[in-house]
């Protein structure tokens, strides 16, 4: 059975002579968190705005659970919840009023428990302009969830948030996923994408240049794991021996740094070498290649893998 919640086929969008999105296709499956990644101006927001029915595509097809966003906007409204990158509410609208008004337009009872979940219970009577950026974002998410949509679209949801607000939002996203809600997350925060998404599409100059899970994408890269070692006597600094599967090593502050294609044997060999030379380990760090590095690799090559 087809589990696609979102289907985009050969989607194109231009602004005058500028091609913002150029013939892209992707699908988002039920219950997954799908990341749309790319640098500023890559076409992420344009793609989302067409999915949300805010803009008209110039070519291709888009469907959300079989609904065409442009042809059936009223059906779309109850299917999706959106946290826009740039959106606002009237300055004088209180938190409670916004929930009541938006719920009423969606034809549902206001879910006041959402305010509690978002930590806005105390702010019910507070006007929008008196909320902090984090509180405004959380309110925006509460409103996006007010009608229990099947698909949530989040455009740069953590931009401008402090660490604890980011963590809260990430927890919320995981909770929604566990309840079977599908999420699309547009971000240029690679750490966030790596942590939160099941699959991603990397957009560059309006084209999709890579798709897959963060793990698949990073595995397709140079595949080098970074190993940083610090020891009491720093014997590795002058080590002429080479360890298995490593590039020539470098030194950064008190660390000797190796890049390995097979980190297990490399780490074992390093530890054996330290033991046989009576040096003791202070710190050992093994870092898998990150999505960010892979992203920079792809975008640095102009989208060529």
């Amino acid at each position: 059975m087809d589990q696609s919640v979102v289907t985009v086929k050969n989607f194109t969008k231009t602004y005058g002579d500028f091609v913002a999105v150029d013939d892209i296709s992707f699908e988002v499956q039920h219950g997954e968190i799908f990341g749309l990644l790319g640098p500023n101006g890559a076409g992420k927001t344009t793609t989302l705005e067409c999915l949300e029915g805010l803009r008209q595509p110039d070519g291709g097809e888009m469907q959300i659970t079989g609904v065409d966003p442009q042809r059936e906007p009223s059906k779309l409204r109850n299917l999706i919840g959106v946290q826009l990158q740039t959106s606002g509410l009237p300055d004088n609208m209180t938190v409670e009023e916004s929930l009541n008004i938006f719920s009423a337009y969606h034809g549902v009872q206001p879910r006041h428990e959402l305010l509690t979940r978002m930590g806005l219970e105390e702010k019910r009577k507070t006007q929008y302009h008196q909320l902090s950026t984090g509180q405004q974002r959380r309110l925006s998410l509460a409103l996006a969830l007010s009608h229990d949509p099947r698909l949530i679209i989040l455009d740069e949801p953590t931009a401008g948030l402090d660490v604890s607000s980011r963590t809260e939002l990430h927890n919320m996203m995981q909770e929604l996923k566990s309840q079977g809600t599908t999420l699309i997350l547009a971000t240029h925060d690679m750490a966030e994408a790596e942590k939160m998404t099941d699959r991603v599409a990397i957009l560059l100059s309006g084209k999709i240049v890579a798709t897959g899970s963060p793990r698949e994408l990073t595995a397709k890269g140079s595949g080098m794991t970074k190993i940083s070692v610090s020891t009491e006597d720093s014997i590795l600094h002058n080590n002429e021996n080479t360890f298995p599967a490593v590039t020539p090593h470098g030194i950064k502050e008190e660390y000797s740094i190796y890049f390995s294609t097979d980190p297990g044997p490399t780490v074992s060999a390093i530890l054996n070498h330290l033991a046989s030379n009576n040096d003791s380990l202070i710190d050992l760090r093994v870092e898998r290649p990150s999505l960010e590095e892979r992203f920079l690799e792809i975008t640095g090559n102009g989208g060529t893998e």
């Binding site: 602004y15 949300e52 029915g53 805010l54 803009r55 008209q56 009223s74 409204r77 109850n78 999706i80 959106v82 826009l84 740039t86 959106s87 606002g88 509410l89 009237p90 300055d91 004088n92 609208m93 009023e97 009541n100 008004i101 938006f102 009423a104 337009y105 969606h106 006007q127 925006s140 409103l143």
Partner: protein, 272 residues
């Protein structure tokens, strides 16, 4: 509560919570009314005849031509309409509910003026109070839809000021609000035919005060109603969710079609 009630109550409260709205809805018109009542009536006792209708029109113009369109443009530019759209709030609600709310405030100010002008400033009392109320409702309709159209076609707050002042200042100077239309030179009378305040003043004179009016009463009423309907239709047709939207249905210059009933009235009065 229904979506309409929730939304209307919020918009109505905004008129009280927001200091700029409060200024345009109550403080400016009532302050100007008090100044006119104390000073102008002393200088020119004949102004007593004009005080109630002129100050009602002034109050309605201040809130609907100066204040209301600015709010529409600011809401569009700050992305509020985008939020509204993705949450299923239709364009008609976005335009009509704030207009109704501002109109309601305008009627409150008008009522304060109508009730206090006679005892406080010895203003001429309307002969037909019902006509005063009905014409005030019509004037609210005409000016609120005109303000709506200005807000829809203006690309910025600066453009709003330009369009608003093209109506506001001439209305005060040659629209019969400060000086009776009969005392204004004929050339300016023709210009005043382009202003809704002229028809509003003449309608008040004809129906609420049962005096002879320079413009035929049915013409005044027809122009006010036609202008209101046309402005409403054009506003809904030209409404844009945001300034970057590429799906706009027509050029903002189509807004100039609002001049049709006024030009037709001038032609009618010239030819008849």
């Amino acid at each position: 509560m229904s979506a309409f009630t929730n939304h209307f109550l919020f918009e109505f409260k905004t008129g009280i919570r927001n200091s700029s709205a409060m200024l345009m809805l109550y403080m400016l018109p009532l302050g100007f009314y008090a100044a006119m009542g104390f000073i102008m009536v002393e200088i020119n006792p004949g102004f007593k005849e004009l005080l109630i209708p002129a100050m009602i029109i002034f109050a309605i113009m201040s809130s609907m031509i100066l204040g209301f369109p600015t709010g529409l443009v600011e809401a569009r530019e700050s992305g509020i309409y985008r939020s509204y759209k993705i949450n299923g709030i239709p364009a008609v609600s976005i335009l009509i509910i704030p207009a109704l709310s501002v109109g309601f405030h305008g009627l409150i100010t008008s009522a304060i003026i109508a009730v206090t002008a006679v005892p406080f400033f010895d203003a001429a009392e309307p002969i037909n109070w019902l006509a005063l109320v009905l014409i005030s409702l019509l004037v609210v309709f005409t000016f609120s839809t005109l303000g709506m159209l200005i807000g829809v076609v203006s690309s910025s707050s600066r453009a709003v000021v330009l369009w608003s002042q093209l109506i506001y200042l001439p209305s005060i100077l040659v629209g019969g609000m400060m000086i009776p239309l009969s005392l204004i030179p004929e050339a300016f009378q023709k210009v005043s035919g382009l202003l809704p305040s002229t028809y509003a003043m003449q309608a008040y004179f004809a129906y609420a005060y049962q005096q002879e009016s320079i413009i035929e009463p049915w013409v005044s009423i027809t122009v006010l109603i036609t202008s209101g309907i046309l402005a409403l239709a054009l506003s809904i047709f030209l409404f844009n969710w945001d300034s970057h939207n590429d799906t706009r249905r027509g050029s903002p210059l189509l807004g100039l079609l609002i001049l049709i009933p006024y030009v037709a009235a001038i032609l009618y009065s010239t030819l008849s």
